[in-house]
Symmetry: C2
Subunit: 361 residues, 2 copies
């Protein structure tokens, strides 16, 4: 198959699934997570039990690494499978250990993940040649059962990957083909970063259902009840801001409505109708508390960089900005300061034309 050495950072749902599948398909995989107890348990087992389509298989872990540096050193391809708001800290911590010519792939990058990580590497290890890529979404729908079991409920048929530099994508995808033939090259990182549908579907419905999350005595369905006609109208406007920013950067990205058609085959005339018709959304229950990734991850790595790009492109983004502000109040956080600003993405003082030129070379 390949002699590439893999590291998987993060032993959550996605991380265990990736590590398990890579190992099952013959790769040498190091795995790291910042939870020492989980590392100890995984090391004691030495394997990951992967259940896919009802079939269970036992994958041998190459090495369980309590230290990030040990996992990364000597790895050819590093999968980072952690919440996107940790990318900055992980990239900073791994920089000294990354080898010449290695590839770091964010699963997923949300908006600007590859840019943020590349910018950190440019600062910390300017001489080293590292490919940084981002997947548009997580390949798997999966759930782990600690310490070492993971159930894969679904695998997407196609997941776009973009890299910096752009022309490295085909090589990365070829290397991954024996393991994950679903990965395909995006046009550029604008496709993956501005195609971030989570930035539309996660923060605003959470903000607009904050009281219900905090005080409802009964659970409610996140999409079916939480995205009511009024909330869906607001999502359509936030989404239109995203699509317009992409357009100003020269990239046509599907609207959330178009994405629901492409991803789920739903045809509908409004976002509300499409969401209500999506079988995959019927039973998803809303979070029980307000301290959720839908705010803490998706605002700083989704709406914040999207709104920052809107500002750069001269696109008014009142609805993104409204949700960023309200989410920050709810969580007591200044997401604009802690999130992916233009500075953190390495885009400060760039024009829309500069960005187009940069992502395409």
């Amino acid at each position: 198959m390949t002699s590439a050495k893999f590291a998987v950072i993060g032993a959550g749902n996605g991380g265990l699934a990736f590590a398990g599948c890579l190992a099952l398909r013959g790769a040498f995989v190091r795995i790291h997570d910042n939870n020492p107890a989980l590392m100890a348990d995984l090391a004691a087992k030495g394997t990951i039990e992967v259940t896919d389509c009802g079939q269970s298989s036992l994958a041998s872990i190459g090495e369980v690494c309590p230290g990030l540096g040990t996992a990364v050193a000597g790895a050819d391809i590093i999968f980072v499978v952690t919440p996107a708001d940790t990318h900055r800290a992980i990239a900073t911590a791994m920089a000294p250990y990354i080898g010449q010519g290695a590839t770091v792939l964010l699963h997923p990058g949300r908006t600007g993940g590859a840019l943020e990580v590349k910018n950190i590497f440019n600062t910390l290890i300017p001489g080293r040649r590292v490919i940084v890529g981002e997947a548009q979404t997580l390949l798997f729908a999966c759930r782990r059962y600690p310490p070492n079991k993971v159930a894969i409920m679904g695998t997407k048929r196609r997941v776009a990957i973009a890299t910096l530099p752009r022309n490295a994508a085909h090589g990365v995808i070829n290397t991954l083909k024996p393991f994950f033939p679903q990965f395909a090259a995006a046009e550029n990182i604008l496709e993956t970063s501005l195609g971030n549908i989570g930035a539309i579907f996660h923060p605003a419905p959470t903000v607009l259902n904050a009281a219900r999350i905090e005080t409802s005595p009964v659970p409610f369905r996140y999409y079916i009840d939480g995205i009511s006609p009024s909330v869906a109208k607001i999502l359509e406007l936030i989404d239109a801001e995203r699509v317009l920013v992409a357009e100003k950067l020269g990239k046509r990205v599907p609207s959330a409505l178009e994405w629901l058609r492409q991803a789920y085959g739903i045809s509908a005339s409004s976002l509300h109708e499409a969401i209500q018709k999506n079988p995959a959304y019927q039973e998803l229950i809303a979070p029980k508390t307000i301290d959720v990734r839908y705010l803490d991850e998706d605002v700083p790595t989704g709406l914040v960089p999207l709104a920052a790009l809107a500002g750069l492109c001269g696109v008014p983004a009142p609805f993104m900005n409204a949700i960023i502000g309200l989410a920050g109040v709810i969580r007591g956080k200044d997401y604009r300061r802690t999130g992916r600003s233009l500075e953190r993405l390495g885009l400060a003082n760039m024009s829309a034309d500069d960005i187009q030129a940069m992502v395409n070379t």
Copy 2:
């Protein structure tokens, strides 16, 4: 008592209560509502049955007037007891009929009611001397039972009234004293207009519970469930914007937290705690649909003029503006265009100093 002739515009909860109480206390009262069927029913009865503190009394209506002009012509004091977003239309329609020296009192004016009505009169009937006043809130907690019954559950101990011109307030209050000794002179219209607590408590919790209002299978309590810790945090920031605007205009107004202490005797360290502790809020159920006055009245006559004044004073008001924008999307309305803009209030091209000078003379 007095020979003043009264007109009451609006035969809703508050209108019937005012008309009934005025008549019971010996005044000649004309009443008008734009609902012809209600007018016909009231005319057939000829009386209003007022229940106050468990005591029922029958008040004789001076005249039921299907036409607004008939009600207004010859009246010395005109009580306008309608949603504030109708003030503009009512003022425009009544202008030709208002007598020299008459007083128009808005119950309540919300934010900028007296300014908006005065501005209309200045344009339409520039030569006529008319006093325009606004009450800070409705005197009564009451409910009508059409066609002619009204139950008064509570009467506030003190309600501030401000007038344009300012020095007319004492005369108006003296005239009303035999009927409603609760009315007291506000310092000026900034006290009544910027003391609009409904602008804080109505739009934002409605927007932030929109999906729950639209899809919850069970009723929920507007204040107790709907103003959760997160929603209360947002209200505190909107409220701080309001208090700061008032300060920039030279007027200290109580915060919502201070107001809850003054009005209900609640002492608490946060708005959330104060609301949860208020016995009056315990059982109030949220609206069942989203087409409610909490948006359609309180946004254009509360948040819109407050945000406009914030702009004039150089106060950033991101949270007011966020709620105005989101409410507009939900209701499909451009509240900034239809609401009380600086132009409509007659304040275009004025400075904060100009406004202070104007309201104090």
